[in-house]
């Protein structure tokens, strides 16, 4: 952890790589259909001719930028650019619709930088002890975590718990379509070859979020987003003030994001969801989450950016990738001849620490770069006439969906989901529960089946599911999340009645 590593991270080459990576990543992340994984997979060969540390810095910077970039489409088009930005749509799009889009984008930038720094600092100082968290989470913990996630979905469906649960359950069923991972069965394809691939998360995301927006945009002559006349300067100052006022929210969400990032397979979408729900639960009465509350965006964006640093913890300490982009980074390192795995910190410490400092630099660079790109993105979305915006976005969704698996049937499926999503959204069934069910389904299923297998084999089924401390904690949280709002509601109505007597 010597200063020399910091200096080697600051070489002109590494600095340039960090800057380039952040910018490229942001652009890629903002296009729905392009994920950080895709971007990294393409760019790995370029890193072969680089020093290992420089290669890591480039890949890490792209990853950081991509997670941030997903917020643009989430805020301005109600479509998460990457799955990690799902929760950003909850408050991001309402803010954009009422004219605060530029504020939202700036907030997302500040929050992302903050979260990214927290994650990177955790990586720097606490990696070895925190990596044990990754190991402590077994199949059962993942199962309860996804149950917790479902309960969050339900509680976030403001006013309509039932419909939220319906959506979540439906999403989970969609996740089972195709060849089962844990066994050899083929499920719910009804003999069709096209459905054997199942419903990919990214395609479903685009279909369920973006297509309904487009359908509604063409239907009415109004402008897409309200633009406040007379506001010339980008509201960076305002955003900064808001951010400093919400220090506690930012810190808490970043910690949540780091911890969730450490869990292999959890990912930015889960982190954003948990952080958002916590922020909402502890909200002050004047904060209206779900209707364009700045704290909502800050919670989700800091959490999902913190997963970048958090995800590198098990990756670099244990050789177990926290997220798919981490797996690609490991592959790139392996080619360079770096011994990944537990020996990495001790054997290749200089590479690791130079990388971490580079990650910090890249995150810091994201502040000016992100604000600049964000301002440009906002301006273009807002000023482009709707007649051109709609076909552009429509075209982008098709090319983006195609690029996932080079499959035209994916495009057709996406469009079908889109129309379906629009129809059911009109009657109270929102897109988010379905998509989140789609994401959490596999985690829940694998956790359940694996836990059951182990528990049944060791004759400890009950203890397996209910006896483990972390699981008990998660279960408790789930119950609190579900029951607390009901209690609060009940108390409110009691007080209302008493006041009226």
């Amino acid at each position: 952890m010597e200063f020399s590593h910091f200096l080697s991270a600051l070489t002109p080459l590494n600095f340039a790589l960090a800057l380039f990576g952040v910018v490229a990543g942001t652009v890629i992340g903002s296009i729905p259909g392009l994920t950080a994984t895709m971007a990294l997979a393409i760019l790995v060969p370029i890193t072969f001719s680089m020093e290992p540390a420089s290669a890591l810095i480039l890949l890490g910077a792209i990853y950081t930028g991509a997670i941030y970039g997903g917020a643009y489409a989430a805020i301005l088009l109600n479509t998460p650019g990457t799955p990690s930005a799902i929760a950003t749509t909850f408050d991001g799009y309402p803010m954009a619709k009422r004219g605060d889009g530029d504020l939202a984008v700036a907030l997302a930038c500040f929050a992302s930088v903050f979260g990214g720094l927290v994650g990177a600092i955790a990586l720097l100082f606490l990696a070895p002890p925190l990596s044990q968290v990754a190991l402590a989470f077994g199949p059962i913990e993942y199962f309860w975590l996804s149950v917790f996630g479902l309960s969050l979905i339900a509680s976030l469906s403001s006013g309509n718990l039932m419909k939220g649960l319906v959506g979540g359950a439906f999403g989970m069923i969609l996740s089972t379509v195709g060849v089962a991972e844990i066994s050899a069965d083929i499920r719910l394809t009804f003999g069709s070859q096209t459905l054997i691939g199942g419903f990919g998360v990214v395609g479903a995301l685009i279909g369920l979020y973006c297509v309904p927006v487009l359908i509604d945009l063409v239907a009415v002559p109004d402008r897409h987003l309200k633009v406040e006349e007379g506001v010339k300067t980008v509201r960076i100052g305002e955003a900064f003030a808001l951010a400093t006022r919400s220090k506690f929210n930012l810190i808490r969400s970043s910690i949540i994001g780091t911890l969730v990032g450490i869990l292999p397979g959890a990912g930015g979408s889960v982190a954003g969801l948990v952080a958002y729900s916590e922020a909402k639960r502890t909200a002050k009465p004047d904060q209206k989450f779900g209707e364009g509350e700045p704290n909502g965006i800050m919670a989700t964006e800091s959490a999902n950016s913190a997963t970048v640093g958090g995800g590198f913890i098990p990756t670099l300490v244990l050789g177990i990738p926290g997220t798919p982009p981490d797996a690609i980074v490991l592959g790139a390192l392996l080619v360079q001849g770096v011994r990944t795995g537990p020996a990495m910190f001790s054997q290749s410490g200089s590479i690791v620490f130079t990388f971490i400092y580079g990650l910090i630099i890249a995150t810091v660079l994201m502040l000016p770069a992100g604000l600049l790109i964000g301002r440009y993105a906002y301006k273009s979305i807002v000023t482009v006439p709707k007649a051109v915006l709609v076909p552009t976005v429509g075209f982008m969704t098709i090319i983006g969906t195609f690029a996932i698996r080079n499959s035209v049937s994916d495009v057709i499926i996406m469009l079908c989901l889109g129309v379906f999503g629009w129809v059911v959204a009109r009657f109270g069934f929102a897109a988010s529960p379905i998509v989140l069910g789609l994401i959490l389904g596999p985690i829940a299923e694998q956790g359940f089946v694996q836990g059951w297998t182990i528990g049944a084999a060791t004759n400890n089924l009950f203890g397996m599911f209910f006896g483990r401390p972390i699981s008990q904690g998660i279960l408790l949280f789930t119950l609190i999340t579900l029951i607390l709002p009901l209690i609060v509601q009940w108390r409110k109505s009691r007080r209302f009645e008493e006041a009226n007597q």
Partner: protein
């Protein structure tokens, strides 16, 4: 006299030219190497190791992309619909491509996959955490015999190499272990390190990657792996188990014979490169050199072997 020689030479030259032109397939542009799994697995790592050698030897970019789903089934089902011009290749794995179609209609058949090279295999190995009470294979077997079902072993997927190995070994020892399937070797390693299970049916690559954090009890090879001279083979310990997961590359079956031959030579050339072999061995892989010419015999053997094992294991009828 001169005229006849001239005629002959011209004829010979013409013939040579035609044959030369015919047998010469070429790459034009970057190549798409599709891995039908998510990133981080053995298929991905071995592809990444091939990448720089490919670019250096043949002057073209090899672009690795991922199409996970169904334990590889989604990718393999789509292979023959892709362009057969030689610009697209896909990784294939044994026993997956043999067992999966035998179980269900997964969208492809073993014979329809145009596999042109098998370039490595990862030998099965039983892995335990470093702090495990099992010091030798005998410890594990005795524990399994004394407590049937209580020895939990993680592995990647169902009806996969790991699963087959577990069933086969149980039959040999007469003990009963419990197999817990995970999505990919990475997840099963995590479970092992977190002590969620007692042992893992993994590969030598796990031992190479995790180093001192794990201990391998036995490997399924003919001779000990050069990287692990202290780890006995199953054969030494009295169990006739040699095998693992084999990995190779395939083209869409619409590719021409020339293209297939060209690719087989290219991959063979990479495989012969001592620097490449060393990198693979350092990673815990074991090398294999089955080119397109040897493929039919190799596959016939493997199909017979795996189908027999799978039938005995009760995985297929």
């Amino acid at each position: 006299m001169l005229r006849r020689t001239l005629l002959k030479t011209t004829a010979a030259a013409a013939l040579a030219l035609t044959f030369g032109v015919q047998a010469h397939a070429e790459l034009n542009g970057p190549v798409n190497y599709i891995i039908p799994f998510g990133p981080g697995g053995e298929s991905d790592i071995s592809a990444r190791l091939q990448q720089p050698f490919f670019a250096e030897k043949f002057g073209q970019e090899m672009v690795v992309s991922y199409q996970p789903g169904g334990g590889g089934a989604v990718g393999w089902a789509s292979l023959n619909g892709l362009n057969g011009d030689g610009q697209t290749i896909m990784g294939v794995n044994l026993p997956h491509i043999i067992i999966k179609p035998a179980q269900k209609d997964v969208g492809f058949t073993t014979d329809s996959l145009n596999a042109f090279y098998m370039f490595h295999f990862t030998p099965d190995a039983i892995v335990v955490p470093a702090n495990s009470p099992y010091q030798t294979l005998a410890d594990l077997v005795n524990d399994a015999k004394a407590n049937p079902g209580q020895v939990t072993m993680s592995g990647s997927g169902k009806a996969s190499a790991n699963h087959l190995a577990q069933i086969k070994f149980d039959k040999m020892t007469g003990a009963l272990t419990t197999y817990v399937p995970f999505k990919g070797t990475g997840a099963s390693v995590t479970a092992l390190l977190g002590n969620q299970v007692k042992a893992q049916w993994g590969y030598t690559t796990v031992g190479a990657k995790q180093g001192d954090a794990v201990r391998m009890l036995a490997v399924a090879m003919e001779d000990r792996h050069p990287l692990f001279p202290d780890v006995p083979t199953f054969k030494e310990l009295g169990y006739d188990m040699v095998g693992g997961a084999y990995r190779g590359i395939a083209l869409p079956n619409t590719a021409s014979a020339e293209t297939t031959a060209m690719w087989s030579d290219m991959i063979g050339e990479i495989n012969a490169d001592p620097a490449f072999r060393q990198k693979m061995l350092d990673g815990g892989f074991a090398m294999l050199d089955i080119s397109a010419a040897d493929m039919p015999a190799f596959m016939a053997d493997r199909v017979a072997e795996y189908l027999k094992d799978a039938r005995e294991a009760g995985l297929i009828k």
